[in-house]
C-alpha cells in the first residue's frame, strides 16, 4: 500500500461528504485536539491539503489495552475517519494477515514510504543488554525490529505508559530488563502519549494534529503533548472545590464519598498526575475514575506502579514505616544508654579520686 496522492479534502469529497460535513469534521477534530474553536478555519485549510500517511504500528510487551482503548470508541465517525484517512499498514490486532504475509507487508510499506511513515509503538521492550528472547515477533527481537523500523520513520509515537516510560514490565523487579522507546530512540522525534491506557481521544488527537499540521504538537519535558498533558488532574478536577474546603471522603462508602467529596485521603494521585481525563473523560465523555468514586492512580506518570500504594495518600512515604522509627529509636537508646553509663562511671571515679586544691595552687595554674 502506498501513500495515495489525493489530499484528505479530495478523499472526503469522494466519500460524498458535504462542505457542512467537512466543517463539522473540523470542529470535532479541533475539540479532539484540545484546540480552541477559533482555530477551526486553520484546521479546515490544513486538512483540505493533508496527504494520507503510512502508519506502522509495532506492539511489543503490552497488554493490547491501548489498541482496545482506541478501537473501543463505539466507532464515532471522526475517529473512524482518522483511522481510514491514515493507511494503517501493520497492526497485529487489527490486521487480517498473519505470519510471513504480515511481515512481508510491513517490510514493503517501510520500503515504499521510507523516511515518511509514522511509527506507532505500544508496549515496552527488553533493552539491548537483556536477553532478547523475552519478547520476539517472527523470531526477531523487539529491539532489532524497533531500530530497523525507526530508521525510515518520520516520527515515533509511543502509545501508552509502557512504551512511553516502561510501564508495568519495567516495574520492580523488571525481570525482562524492559526499557521505554524514548530510552532507545535518540535521532528521531518521539512523542509520548502516556496513560494506562491513554484516553482514546488523546491518541487520535495526536494523529489528527500530525495529519493537520505535518508535525508533532508542543511537548512537555516528558515528550508528551502539552495540549493533553499540560494540566494536572488536580487542577481540572471537578471535586477540587471540596479539596479546597477541606472536605474529604475517608472511606469508600462514607457520607463524604456518597456526596462526592475529594478523594485525597483515599490515595488520589491527582495532584502529581498530568493527563486529560478530568476534561475529556472516558467512554465518549461518560465518566472517569474520580467521578466514579475511585482515586486517580497516576497512570500517565513514569514508574507509577512503584510509587507507593494506590490507596496511600500522596504525603505518605513509600518505604518508611512505624517499624523504621521504632528500630532506629531502639538502636539509639542502646547507644545513648551505653555512652551515658560510661560517662557516669567516669564522673563517679573522678569524684571519688578528686584532690582538694587551694586558692594559691589555682592562681598559679591560671
Amino acid at each position: 500500500m502506498t501513500v495515495t496522492d489525493k489530499t484528505l479534502g479530495e478523499r472526503l469529497r469522494e466519500h460524498g461528504i458535504s462542505r457542512r460535513g467537512f466543517m463539522k469534521f473540523c470542529a470535532a477534530t479541533a475539540s479532539m485536539m484540545a484546540l480552541p474553536p477559533s482555530m477551526i478555519p486553520a484546521i479546515a485549510a490544513a486538512l483540505e491539503k493533508a496527504r494520507r500517511p503510512s502508519v506502522i504500528w509495532l506492539s511489543f510487551q503490552e497488554c493490547t489495552g491501548c489498541t482496545e482503548s482506541l478501537t473501543r470508541s463505539h466507532s464515532p465517525t471522526v475517529e473512524d475517519l482518522i483511522l481510514s484517512v491514515i493507511s494503517l499498514d501493520y497492526h497485529h490486532t487489527l490486521q487480517a494477515a498473519a505470519g510471513e504475509a504480515a511481515e512481508a507487508a510491513r517490510e514493503q510499506a517501510m520500503q515504499e514510504n521510507h523516511g515518511e511513515y509514522l511509527l506507532i509503538v505500544d508496549g515496552s521492550l527488553p533493552g539491548p543488554d537483556s536477553n532478547p528472547g523475552y519478547s520476539t515477533i517472527a523470531g526477531v527481537s523487539n529491539y532489532a525490529m524497533l531500530m530497523e523500523a525507526v530508521e525510515g520513520a518520520a516520527a515515533v509515537v509511543a502509545v501508552g505508559t509502557c512504551a512511553a516510560f516502561g510501564g508495568l514490565p519495567e516495574a520492580s523487579p523488571n525481570p525482562t530488563g524492559a526499557v521505554s522507546v524514548m530510552d532507545l530512540v535518540k535521532d528521531k522525534p518521539v512523542i509520548n502519549v502516556s496513560g494506562c491506557p491513554p484516553v482514546p481521544m488523546v491518541i487520535t488527537g495526536v494523529l489528527a494534529h500530525y495529519l493537520t499540521f505535518g508535525r508533532l504538537p508542543e511537548l512537555d519535558q516528558y515528550h508528551r503533548p502539552l495540549a493533553f498533558f499540560g494540566q494536572s488532574i488536580h487542577d481540572r478536577c471537578y471535586r477540587r472545590p471540596f479539596y479546597d474546603k477541606g472536605l474529604f471522603a475517608e472511606t469508600f462508602d462514607d457520607e463524604g464519598a456518597k456526596a462526592g467529596w475529594c478523594l485525597y485521603r483515599l490515595g488520589c494521585k491527582g495532584p502529581s498526575t498530568y493527563n486529560a481525563c478530568a476534561t475529556m473523560r472516558w467512554n465518549s465523555g461518560t465518566s472517569w475514575p474520580i467521578e466514579s468514586g475511585h482515586p486517580c492512580l497516576g497512570c500517565s506518570e513514569p514508574r507509577f506502579w512503584d510509587a507507593g500504594s494506590f490507596y496511600a495518600p500522596l504525603s505518605v512515604p513509600t518505604d518508611a514505616s512505624g517499624e523504621t522509627l521504632l528500630a532506629a529509636g531502639a538502636v539509639g537508646a542502646a547507644i545513648g544508654g551505653a555512652v551515658a553509663t560510661l560517662a557516669r562511671r567516669k564522673v563517679k571515679t573522678e569524684a571519688a579520686s578528686r584532690q582538694p586544691v587551694t586558692v594559691e595552687e589555682l592562681e598559679q595554674k591560671l
Binding site: R20, M23, A27, P36, A259
Partner: protein, 146 residues
C-alpha cells in the same frame, strides 16, 4: 445462571440536585463577555464545552439556565447536528453527533447565527451549476450524500 435471580437488587436513589459543583457559573461569565464582544464588534465566539471540568449535573444546570429560544434546527451532514437557540439571544447550543447519535462535541456559539447553519461559500460557487443541472435533466439530479 439461576442463582443470579436470587441476588436482591437495591436501587440507590441518586443524590439529587443538592450536590452543586459550581462549574457552570464561570461559563456564564465567559458567555457574558462573548456577548459584549458580539454586540460591540460583531466578533463571534465559540466555546468548546468538552474542555470544561464539568461534574455530574453541571451541564444540565447550564443548559437549564440558558433556557430555550425560538429556533431549533438539525443538520444532516456526517451524522446529525442539533442546533438550539437558547433564551439568550445570540447564544446557541450546537450539539455535534455521529451517525449512532453519540456526541462528538458540544459547542456554545455566541453569534448571530451558528457557522454550521450558514451556507458555505464553497457550496455557493457550485450552486448555479447544480440548479442548471436540475433544470436540464428535468428530474432530480443525484444529490450529494451527506
Amino acid at each position: 445462571m439461576s442463582g443470579l435471580h436470587s441476588i436482591p437488587v437495591r436501587v440507590e436513589s441518586d443524590p439529587g440536585p443538592h450536590t452543586e459543583h459550581g462549574n457552570a457559573v464561570p461559563i456564564l461569565h465567559e458567555i457574558r463577555h462573548a456577548l459584549g464582544r458580539l454586540i460591540e464588534s460583531d466578533a463571534e465566539t465559540r466555546i468548546d464545552l468538552n474542555a470544561i471540568p464539568f461534574g455530574p449535573g453541571d451541564e444540565e444546570r447550564l443548559v437549564g439556565l440558558l433556557g430555550m429560544g425560538e429556533v431549533s434546527a438539525s443538520v444532516e451532514a456526517l451524522g446529525p447536528t442539533r442546533v438550539q437557540e437558547t433564551a439568550v439571544p445570540g447564544v446557541w447550543l450546537v450539539d455535534y453527533r455521529n451517525a449512532e447519535g453519540e456526541r462528538l462535541a458540544l459547542h456554545l456559539e455566541v453569534a448571530a447565527i451558528p457557522g454550521i447553519l450558514r451556507t458555505q461559500r464553497e457550496d455557493l460557487d457550485t450552486a448555479i451549476a447544480e440548479l442548471d443541472a436540475r433544470l436540464q435533466s428535468g428530474q432530480a439530479a443525484p444529490r450529494l450524500e451527506s
